[in-house]
């Protein structure tokens, strides 16, 4: 066990610290306005992203040729750790970079990368991921949006839903059905396309939180050139799965919510309306302890995973654990935080009590976190089947052409 930076990493950390100290403060969001869901502060988020991209910190692990710095996973963690010390606009580019562009990096031709990676890295262009549909969420293979070949193009018609950021996106990656006569998972293909193409209609959906970060996307005879296909015709599932793996990889507390355990500790140390500090009270201590060990458990599990990656191992399904624990823990942290304020915990006062507002936002958002990108139940299935090797769920959709399934 060795937690200390290597000499090279220590140099890197010092560099990062100096750079952040100089640049981060200029990008702090106005107090009380941090929006956990990402897009309300888009202009600010863009400026910050551009600053990072220009300094080579936007995606440390990516190849230098694409604007990364060819750094190690450990350096990425170091940057995250240091960045976390500053109030910054929420990351609006997680899906763009972590999923869409990462998939492109693995599957697209060099010319495509030449054109698209840099603008996305600077936050100038935003990407969204059009996977889910009204009848395809957990059961993603059930996608019905149809693509029909027409010369060098495909004509796409259907409906996507819950598409985060579609309303601000320039480009999208999409999973569609190219062969309804094939078995469910064999008839899918994967494309990238222009969100401003004729026939694309984006309708924001108001979320339970009141924000509208996700959307319905209606596609009517949208033309997508075959040259924008990633993977084989009928090989879309394989491409989609590689993206989902990235999603689980990227999970850490600071990435997925605006609050961390440190914020909860800070609140617990302040005198509450009853004149006492929650951290001095036995029941609160018990709650704080349980939140703390889960939060740090995920943080250190990530370090263990990074150690294995650094030794050349592939990311495994173990990463599903991070989101499973954090979704629930963020919800519990926010509840605890609201209770610490006593009856006033329900009052929304952005200017007067920004700290509490963030907790309230996180509390609302956490309900969605436990669904987005794999529900708690699906993640438990993943762990049981792929980590623990238990039998797969009984399925009634095997070996049957998609267009003969009853759903």
């Amino acid at each position: 066990m060795d937690f200390d930076d290597t000499p090279e990493d220590a140099v890197f950390r010092a560099e990062v610290r100096a750079w952040l100290a100089k640049h981060a403060p200029r990008h702090a969001p106005p107090p009380g306005e941090a929006d956990a869901e990402g897009f309300a502060l888009l202009p600010l988020a863009r400026q910050w992203q551009t600053a990072k991209a220009e300094a080579g910190y936007a995606r440390i692990g990516w190849p230098v040729a694409y604007g990364g710095r060819g750094g190690s996973v450990i350096q990425e963690v170091i940057f995250d750790e240091e960045q976390r010390r500053f109030p910054l606009p929420p990351d609006a580019f997680g899906i763009s970079l972590g999923m869409c562009i990462t998939t492109l990096l693995n599957w697209a031709a060099p010319e495509v990368l030449e054109r698209f990676v840099a603008p996305a890295l600077r936050g100038e262009e935003i990407w969204c991921q059009l996977f889910s549909e009204p009848s395809a969420g957990s059961d993603l293979g059930n996608v019905r949006t149809r693509a029909v070949r027409d010369g060098d193009d495909w004509i796409v018609t259907g409906q996507k839903v819950w598409t985060t950021g579609a309303h601000v996106s320039d480009w999208g990656t999409i999973l569609v059905r190219t062969d309804p006569g094939a078995e469910k998972y064999a008839g899918l293909s994967y494309f990238w396309f222009d969100m401003r193409s004729p026939g694309v209609e984006v309708r924001p959906i108001r979320q339970a939180s009141g924000h509208a970060a996700f959307n319905e996307v209606f596609l009517t005879d949208v033309r997508i050139p075959d040259s924008q296909r990633l993977g084989e015709v009928g090989g879309g599932w394989k491409v989609a799965i590689s993206t989902l793996l990235n999603e689980r990889m990227s999970v850490n507390e600071a990435d997925i919510a605006n609050i961390t355990i440190d914020d909860v500790v800070a609140m617990a140390r302040k005198v509450a309306p009853d004149g006492r500090r929650p951290i001095d009270d036995a029941a609160s201590r018990a709650r704080l302890a349980s939140l703390y060990v889960r939060s740090l458990g995920v943080r250190y599990s990530r370090y263990r995973m990074l150690t294995r990656l650094a030794q050349g191992e592939e990311p495994g399904p173990e990463a599903a654990m991070g989101k499973l624990v954090l979704g629930r823990n963020i919800q519990d942290m926010a509840r605890f935080a609201m209770e610490m304020r006593g009856p006033a915990g329900i009052i929304v006062d952005r200017q007067g009590d920004p700290e509490l507002t963030e907790m309230q936002e996180a509390w609302l958002y956490a309900a969605g976190l436990r669904i987005a990108g794999g529900t708690d139940e699906i993640l438990r299935n993943t762990i049981a089947e792929r980590v623990l090797g238990l039998p797969q769920e009984t399925r009634l959709d095997r070996g049957i052409p998609f267009n003969q399934l009853s759903n």
Binding site: M1, D2, F3, D4, D5, T6, D9, I74, V77, V265, A266, A268, R269, I279, D280, A282, R285, A286, L288, A289, S290, Y292, V293, R294, L296, G297, V298, R299, Y300, S301, Y303, R304, L306, T307, R308, E318, M321, L324, V325, E377, L379, R380, N381, I383, A384, E385, V387, L388, G389, L390, P391, Q392, E393, T394
Partner: protein, 357 residues
């Protein structure tokens, strides 16, 4: 950063796992619960002492082999996995660690080599309040003391701090006790004006806390090993057992329970690794890291051992099944180093101090 065991630590654990599978089978634990097999327990202690397990983290200058505390953690994990009936907790995690951390030179020279070789078993009772001191002599009773009847030396908490007592001195009376896990012997010890010496030159309540924190990290690894053994046992069973013409491992209620046990053990493992690092490097984070490791590991082991019985159904509730060995041990270890509320206090205090700094 390297957040894992080294090759050497892993090899030691591997060797320990093989030896314990052979020499500390569930049948031995079961006979100890039935009041038999104490001679085999002693033989096991002699054998692993000859292999140097108790000496792993003791300095070479004191008769140890100075392999390090992470190696000791790796061993603890295997001991926990096997529910092995060994006095590592009282003798090494507590007594030897306390003497090494705070003892005077003569105290170290007198006791550490004998503890390292396993020739003498040590123990400790660190809950203050029961013992009075007059003219350097201890009077009063402490109970339950792990290996209280077998131990040759004890660290005892009295009103004026920690004392080191040679248990062969006149005035020491011991009587064996039954506990929820009789594979680990316990006794009550009565002191009647027994000669003792303060542990180290200066010691206050902070020393007791420090010693308990160090022991908690090592116990967390035993708990972790135990929790993983429960998970593996349950997994093996659910792959075989069928109801309604399906293996029970195909039912989602069972799969999700096992996923939750897995998650609890991973949370415990990650907290334990961090604490191992803090222990091995003497980092100032130790009190916080140890409390987190203690809480996570206690939760994981108690959850895994209880659900292991549940997942086995009726057979899980039999004397012959191994589930109850872990159910008993998990509770014993949960109670071993003071109540959970005290660990919540330690964790909260450490967080509070850190933020105040």
């Amino acid at each position: 950063m390297n957040f894992d065991y080294t090759e050497e630590e892993r090899a030691l654990a591997e060797q320990a796992r093989r030896l314990l599978a052979d020499k500390s089978p569930p049948a031995l634990i079961r006979s100890l619960l039935e009041g038999e097999g104490a001679d085999r327990r002693e033989a096991l202690w002699t054998e692993i002492s000859a292999l140097g397990w108790p000496a792993v983290a003791i300095p070479e200058s004191q008769g140890g082999i100075e392999f390090g505390h992470v190696a000791l953690c790796a061993l603890a994990e295997e001991i926990g996995r096997a529910v092995a009936p060994l006095p590592m907790l009282p003798s090494i995690y507590l007594a030897a660690e306390a003497i090494a951390a705070a003892g005077t030179q003569p105290q170290m020279q007198r006791w550490l080599p004998a503890l390292a070789s396993g020739e003498i078993i040590g123990t400790a009772f660190l809950t203050p309040g029961a013992i009075t001191v007059r003219d350097g002599r201890l009077t009063g009773s402490v109970s339950p003391v792990p290996y209280g009847a077998e131990a040759g030396v004890a660290i005892i908490s009295a009103a004026d701090g920690l004392h080191l007592v040679d248990l062969t001195r006149p005035g020491v009376t011991r009587s064996a006790l039954n506990t929820i896990d009789d594979s680990v012997p316990h006794a009550a010890i009565t002191f009647d004006a027994v000669e003792a010496e303060p542990l180290g030159a200066r010691n206050g309540s902070a020393l007791g806390d420090h010693i308990v924190s160090r022991a908690a990290v090592l116990v967390a690894f035993e708990q972790l090993g135990g929790a993983e053994a429960c998970l593996q046992m349950a997994l093996a069973y659910v792959r075989e057992r069928k109801t309604f013409a399906r293996v029970i491992g195909s039912y989602q209620a069972i799969k999700h329970r096992l996923a939750d046990i897995y998650v609890a053990t991973e949370v415990a493992r990650s907290n334990a690794y961090y604490a191992a690092w803090a222990l091995a490097t003497g980092a100032p984070e130790l009190p916080l890291a140890a409390a987190a490791a203690r809480i996570a590991a206690t939760e994981a082991y108690e959850f895994a051992s209880a659900e292991c019985i549940q997942i086995h159904g009726g057979i899980g509730f039999t004397w012959e099944a191994d589930c109850h060995l872990h159910y008993r041990r998990s509770r014993l270890l949960a109670q071993a180093l003071g109540p959970m509320a005290q660990w919540h206090d330690r964790l909260a205090d450490a967080l509070d101090r850190r933020e105040a700094a």
